[in-house]
Assembly symmetry: C2
Homo-oligomer: 396 residues x 2
C-alpha cells in the first residue's frame, strides 16, 4: 500500500467564533501551554503540574474533596466514570430527564444493569423537585442523577432541594456540571453533591479531551465497598486514583499535553476569579437575550430557568435552519448549534462559554443573525444590537 | 474558597530526551499543529481533517478497513474498546500473557464476564504458537488476543501462526499494536488481524491521548450481531462509528486539537515512508544493543524476539536502579523506564520510538549510562559508544 504524503496539506483551520454548545474559543495562552514539550507521565515536573491542576480543579468545583482529577476522555467519559464506578446490577437509580444528556444517563444506567427510575420534565424546562420527591418515596435508592445545565435545551435545574431529597433517601447525589462548570455558581461541598463531572471545552475554554470529576467521602465509601469489580478497567477510579494520589502507581499514560492545557485554562479562571467569571457570563447572556428579544425572536426557556452560557432560541417561521447556520459559518465564521432530539430543526443553540463570552462576539452575532434572517425575508424588528449594547452600558 | 493564582507559574517543562516506554519525543511540527485554533467537532473543515486522519491511519495499519479511527482515550482505552465491543458474558476468550499488557487484557476479559483461557510465556519471551494451538483445541473460541510488542518486557511475538490458529477455531484475532505501530512491519490485512489497537505516544511521536483502532469485516459482523448492548456507552463503536462514518451523527465531542496532532504525526510518517521508518528504528536498535553489549551489559530478550523500539537490559549487579534513573534524568535530561511487575528493580527499559530513534540520542544515552554506572563503581568494559557508532558507519 502506498500513499501520497503531498495530498495532505499543512493544518490551517479557520479562526471561528465558537458560539455553539462547545467547544468554545480557546485563548492563545492555553494553546501555547498545550504546545510545550511533552515529558513523561511519571516525571517529577509533570507530577507537580498534576498536583496543581487538582488544586485548581478543587477551586472551580468549590470542594475540598481529595478525589478530584481529570478523567482521560471527554465529558461523556466523565459521565460514564460517574456511573460505572457506583451503579451495580440491580441498584435503583433515579435519573432526571429534561434533554439529551439525561437520556444518556438513562442509557448508561441500563447498560450497567441498574433499575432505572425516570423523572421527566418538558424539554426546555427545569426538573420539578416535587416530582422527584414523589418518585423517591418508599424506595431504596442508590443514586439520584441530574443534569445541572442541559446543553441540549439551555435549561438550568436548581440543585439544593434535589440534594436533600437524595440524602434523605440515603442515595448519592450525582450532578452533570459539564456546561455550567466555571461559568456559574455550582458549589459541590455547599450543595452536598457527592459525584460531579464536567468537560474542558465549555466554560473552561480548553480544547475537548479531558473530563474533570470530583467524588466526595460518601461516594468514596460506596466505591470502596462495591460487591463487584467496576466493569470498566480504563475508568476504574480505584486504580486511576492511585496514579493521581500519593501512590503514583502507573495505570494508563496520562494525556500530558492536554493536562498542560487544562492547567493553563484553570490558571486563567483563577486569575479572573470565579465570581467575576460568573458575572461576565451572566452579563453577556443578558445582552444576548435583550438583543434577540428586541429583534422579535423568542427564547425557549422561561427566564428564571435559563442558563447564561447556553441560549436556545426558537427558529422564526420561514427561516431555513441549515442555511442560516451554514451562512453564519461561511460568511461570518460564527458557529452556532443546531437543535437536538425533540428540538431538532426547531431551535438554535447559542453558546456564550468561557473565552467566547465577550461583548464583541454578542454584538457581532446579533448583527450577523439579523442580516442572515433578512436575506431570507424574515420580518424582524430593528434595534437588536442597540438593546444589547444598552445592557452593557448600564452595567459598566 | 479562595486561591492565589500567582502561586501557579507559567508552564515550562524541561526538554527531556524521552527514552522510556512512551511518550516519545514529540517533533515541533506536531506540537505546532496541536496549537492551531480549536474549531467545532462538526465543522466541515474539521470533518476533512478527520477523513484525512483516517486515510493516514489505514496506511499505517496497512489495511483497507473502513472502520479505522482514533478512540478518544489513551492506548488503554483502545484495549478496552477492542474487548468491550466483542466479548459478551460467557464467551471463551484466549489471552496470551507474557507481560503486563497481556495481564491487563485478562483483567478486562473477566470484568466483561468472559471465560478466560490464558496461555503464558516467560516474561521477556515471545508466545509459543504451539502452546496456543494446544489450548485452543476442541474449544468454541470467540476471540484470541495477543500483545504484539510487550512494552513491559521488550518481547515481540510473531503473529502469522496465531492468526491461522484463531481463524481455524472460528475466533476473532485481536492484536495489541500499541508499541509496534509505525515502528515495525505489522500489516493488519496481510496478517489477517481482525481487531487492532494502538496509542499515539509511542512510534507515532504524538502526545498521549488518542488510541487508533481498526476493525475488519469479520469483527464488524460480530459487533453488529451482539446479543447484548455494549456495556460501555463511551466506547460503543456502533455509535462512535456513525460519527466517524458518513452519518456524522454526534456522539461525543471529538478531541479536536489532539486530532490535529495525530494527523500531523501521521503526515510525518507518510513523508518518511513506512519502510524507511521501520529501517530507522531497527538501525538505532542495533546500534544501542551493540553499545550496551560492548559495555558488558546483557539484554533481557533473546535476539530474534527483540523489539527494536523497546529494549530491556538487565541492571548490572551493584547498580542502584532508582539512583541511576534519577541521575540520568537530572544530569542528562534522559528519561528511561523502570521494570514493571516481575521485572521491577531488575531491568531498565530503553525506548527508541518514533522521533526519539536517532543516533544522537543513542550515543548520548550510552555515554551518560556509562558515566552514571562508573560513578557507582560498576565495572564496565570501555568501547560502548565506539561499537554503536560502528553500526551506523557500516550502514551508511
Amino acid at each position: 500500500m502506498s500513499i501520497d504524503p503531498h495530498s495532505f496539506k499543512e493544518i490551517d483551520p479557520g479562526k471561528r467564533i465558537l458560539m455553539g454548545p462547545g467547544p468554545s474559543n480557546v485563548p492563545p495562552r492555553v494553546l501555547q501551554a498545550m504546545a510545550a514539550p511533552c515529558i513523561g507521565h511519571l516525571d517529577p515536573e509533570f507530577l507537580t503540574y498534576m498536583n496543581e491542576a487538582q488544586q485548581l480543579l478543587r477551586y472551580c468545583f468549590q470542594t475540598r474533596n481529595p478525589f478530584t482529577l481529570p478523567v482521560s476522555g471527554t465529558g461523556s467519559a466523565g459521565m460514564e466514570t460517574s456511573l460505572v464506578n457506583f451503579v451495580e446490577p440491580g441498584d435503583n437509580v433515579l435519573v432526571c430527564v429534561n434533554g439529551v444528556f439525561g437520556l444518556r444517563m438513562c442509557d448508561l444506567t441500563l447498560r450497567l444493569g441498574g433499575n432505572l427510575i425516570q423523572v421527566k420534565a418538558e424539554w426546555g424546562r427545569a426538573i420539578d423537585p416535587e416530582a422527584v420527591r414523589r418518585a423517591v418515596k418508599g424506595r431504596d435508592l442508590k443514586l439520584l442523577a441530574v443534569v445541572h445545565a442541559e446543553t441540549s435545551t439551555g435549561a438550568c435545574t436548581t440543585l439544593e432541594d434535589l440534594a436533600d431529597i437524595a440524602h434523605e433517601a440515603g442515595a448519592l447525589f450525582l450532578v452533570d456540571m459539564v456546561t455550567s462548570f466555571a461559568g456559574m455558581d455550582v458549589a459541590v461541598d455547599r450543595t452536598g453533591i457527592d459525584i460531579a463531572f464536567s468537560g474542558t471545552q465549555k466554560c473552561l475554554s480548553c480544547p475537548p479531551g479531558l473530563s474533570p470529576v470530583t467524588f466526595g467521602s460518601r461516594a468514596m465509601e460506596v466505591l470502596q465497598n462495591r460487591k463487584t469489580k467496576v466493569p470498566s478497567w480504563y475508568l476504574d477510579m480505584n486504580m486511576v486514583g492511585k496514579y493521581w494520589g500519593a501512590h503514583r502507581k502507573y495505570h494508563h499514560t496520562a494525556a500530558v499535553n492536554m493536562i498542560y492545557a487544562l492547567r493553563e485554562s484553570l490558571r486563567i479562571v483563577a486569575e479572573e476569579g470565579l465570581e467575576k467569571r460568573w458575572e461576565r457570563h451572566f452579563l453577556n447572556h443578558r445582552a444576548l437575550v435583550a438583543g434577540l428579544e428586541a429583534m422579535g425572536l423568542s427564547m425557549v426557556v422561561p427566564e428564571r430557568e435559563r442558563l447564561p452560557m447556553l441560549n436556545t432560541v426558537w427558529i422564526p417561521e420561514g427561516a431555513d435552519d441549515a442555511f442560516t447556520r451554514r451562512h453564519l459559518l461561511q460568511a461570518y465564521a460564527i458557529e452556532i448549534g443546531a437543535g437536538l432530539g425533540d428540538l431538532a430543526g426547531r431551535v438554535w443553540r447559542v453558546g456564550l462559554m468561557g473565552h467566547t463570552a465577550q461583548p464583541r462576539n454578542v454584538l457581532l452575532f446579533l448583527s450577523a443573525l439579523e442580516a442572515t434572517l433578512r436575506k431570507q425575508n424574515i420580518e424582524l424588528r430593528s434595534g437588536g444590537m442597540e438593546a444589547a449594547a444598552a445592557v452593557y452600558e448600564d452595567a459598566w
